[in-house]
């Protein structure tokens, strides 16, 4: 499903070049639950951005679902993000002016789905994450755990094959964090490919496989 071959990412900071990724090779099978663990500054966010097609590698190859995407242009990348990837962020990243339902609907709007289909799909997904009774609430009217579940619903609405979660429990209390992790486990059991990024070793144990990233290189790849 995800295949990175010797991927590097270099940031040009004017005087100095920062090598965030130094030749990362990683394979994730379809339906696998992988966690990437690393301290801050290790390059895990860069790796997540590249896997999530938010950024392109400086060199190396990236195959997503069998397609080499490192040569894609912005328009194609936007389409990939829309159809193949579901993001869950540490800071939820919901649009504050939109209701839970409208937030979940958004990726489907960009996909060009009809109003009727969007509604059916969004409501179904919100019910799936247990927020069927909170659909018209704004994010500020929801608790952190509920907001993150809206974000997960948004990531799932378009039924993408890959779910990318970047510190999904980082801004939650332990109870809500547990709920969110349980939800992710459930999705994994249903066959979704999941990449979980965290700095917390406890949380990384949720995954079936863990790789660590230190100084832009993967270790423990096994």
């Amino acid at each position: 499903m995800i295949d990175l071959k010797n991927v590097t990412k270099t940031y040009d900071m004017g005087a100095v070049e920062v090598k965030a990724l130094r030749g990362v090779t990683l394979h994730v099978d379809e339906g696998e639950f992988l966690s990437i663990i690393g301290p801050s500054g290790s390059g895990k966010s860069t790796l997540m951005n590249i896997i999530g097609c938010l950024d392109l590698p400086t060199s190396g190859e990236y195959y997503l679902d069998g397609k080499e995407i490192s040569t894609y242009d912005e328009k194609q990348l936007a389409k990939i993000r829309n159809q193949k990837i579901g993001f869950v962020f540490q800071k939820f990243n919901l649009l504050p002016k939109l209701s839970a339902l409208e937030n979940v609907e958004l990726p489907l709007i960009y996909r060009g789905m009809s109003y009727k289909d969007r509604m059916r799909k969004s409501i179904e997904t919100l019910e799936r994450v247990g927020l069927g009774d909170r659909m018209s609430h704004k994010p500020t009217e929801l608790s952190g755990g509920q907001q993150q579940r809206v974000a997960i619903a948004r990531a799932l609405a378009g039924n993408p094959p890959v779910l990318l979660a970047d510190e999904p429990t980082g801004n939650l209390d332990s109870k809500s964090g547990q709920d969110v992790l349980a939800l992710i486990q459930e999705l994994s059991r249903e066959g979704k490919t999941i990449v979980l990024i965290t700095h917390n070793a406890e949380i990384s144990k949720e995954a079936k496989r863990t790789v660590a990233i230190i100084d832009g290189q993967l270790v423990d790849n096994g």
């Binding site: 938010l54 936007a78 649009l95 958004l106 960009y110 990531a155």
Partner: protein
């Protein structure tokens, strides 16, 4: 992503920034308002002036004499009248003064002319008689008054054969004019017509500066004008001493002047619309920066550059479009009131209204283009990190 959704989103964003949106719109509202009001009034005035010139009577030629040393006398009138193509001639004098009857007073324009004056100016008699050549020859103190003047001075009394006092000199009312449609030049029914000779004697005038002629027909108008010019050139020796203008020429000059005025006023108003557009651009730039994170989120979940560009373009053009609509409504109301107060006809300038609306929409798109393009170019990674 369909337009209805984006427009809905634009309104949501406006509602959360009510004051800012209103102030930004104000630039467009004032601009469009100014365009609509100024052009409506300009067009109304043009129409009014055109109508009042047309109502003067057919195939009119105006002569004005500027020479201070050589002057036109009454005997020149006969010579002008005998020129080929000329049907009739009247000297014209106009004095604005107070007219009294009994205890009633009114300020009116006293117009002196000869027996042709009424016909040339399209006046008809309602009761009594017209001014005759005898009145002119003998400087009879007789007057023909308009309906408005009659109402002011006489109320219900019959004005015929009553004596009115013009600056202390008594004139006998011998006729009343049929009512005529008013125009921009003033109330045509508030007038007193007297023999020009009587007026000249009363005010010690010896020279004639203003003459109105009527040509035999539209076809002969040019011929008559040429002959009059020839006669006057002979009489004065240079062509700077007088000016001969036919009705068509007056119309075209006035049309040109008011047309230019309309364009100028419209231009000034257009500039304020442009300034409003710069306001939109300014606020859109602020909005785009403020919403960097939102743009990042949208891009992360699949919005392409085009989606973001269209979203912000629609936002700016909805803002200017709504502003334009408000401006047009206020403009129509105001110009309706102003033209009413000025006594000119309100001209519904559909092209002006449509033009103002389209232009304001265009302003929104044009000035929204740069901010929207800037927003669409944000890198999702950087935009997501923005606090």
């Amino acid at each position: 992503m369909n337009i209805r959704n984006i427009i809905k989103m634009a309104f949501q964003s406006f509602l959360s920034n009510k004051l800012r949106t209103f102030l930004t719109m104000l630039g467009i509202i004032i601009g469009v308002f100014a365009v609509v009001v100024l052009i409506s009034i300009g067009q109304g005035a043009t129409k009014g002036v055109t109508e009042s010139i047309s109502s003067m009577g057919a195939n009119i030629i105006n002569v004005n004499v500027f020479d201070r040393k050589q002057v036109m006398k009454l005997k020149d009138m006969d010579k002008l009248a005998s020129l080929q193509g000329v049907k009739s001639v009247t000297p014209v004098y106009s004095v604005s003064t107070t007219v009294k009857y009994d205890l009633e007073k009114a300020r009116v324009a006293i117009n002196g002319g000869n027996e042709n004056y009424m016909k040339i100016n399209n006046y008809e008699i309602d009761a009594g008689r017209v001014i005759t050549p005898v009145d002119v020859d003998y400087r009879n103190r007789v007057a023909i008054i308009g309906r408005t003047t009659a109402d002011k001075l006489f109320d219900a009394e019959n004005p015929l054969d009553k004596e009115i006092s013009v600056d202390g000199i008594k004139y006998t009312v011998v006729g009343i004019l049929k009512e005529k449609e008013s125009n921009l030049m003033g109330d045509s029914n508030d007038t007193v017509i007297v023999p020009v000779t009587s007026l000249m004697r009363q005010y010690n005038l010896t020279q004639i500066n203003s003459i109105v002629l009527q040509a035999n027909s539209a076809e002969e108008s040019a011929l008559a004008k040429e002959n009059v010019q020839g006669y006057l050139l002979d009489r004065f020796g240079n062509k700077d001493s007088f000016m001969v203008l036919s009705q068509d020429e007056m119309l075209s000059i006035l049309k040109e002047v008011t047309g230019m005025l309309t364009i100028m006023l419209g231009g000034i108003a257009g500039i304020s619309l442009l300034v409003g557009g710069i306001g939109i651009m300014n606020i859109m730039l602020v909005t785009v920066t403020e919403r960097t994170r939102e743009i990042g989120i949208r891009k992360a979940i699949g919005a392409g550059r085009g989606n973001i560009l269209v979203q912000f373009l629609i936002e700016s053009s909805v803002m200017s479009g709504v502003g334009g609509l408000i401006g047009v409504v206020l403009g129509i109301l105001t110009s309706y009131l102003i033209t009413g107060a000025m006594g000119i006809r309100y001209v519904t300038g559909i092209p002006v209204i449509l033009g103002a609306l389209i232009f304001s929409l265009f302003v929104g798109i044009f000035f929204g283009l740069y901010p929207a393009n800037k927003a669409s170019k944000f890198k999702p990674v950087d935009a997501l990190r923005y606090e």
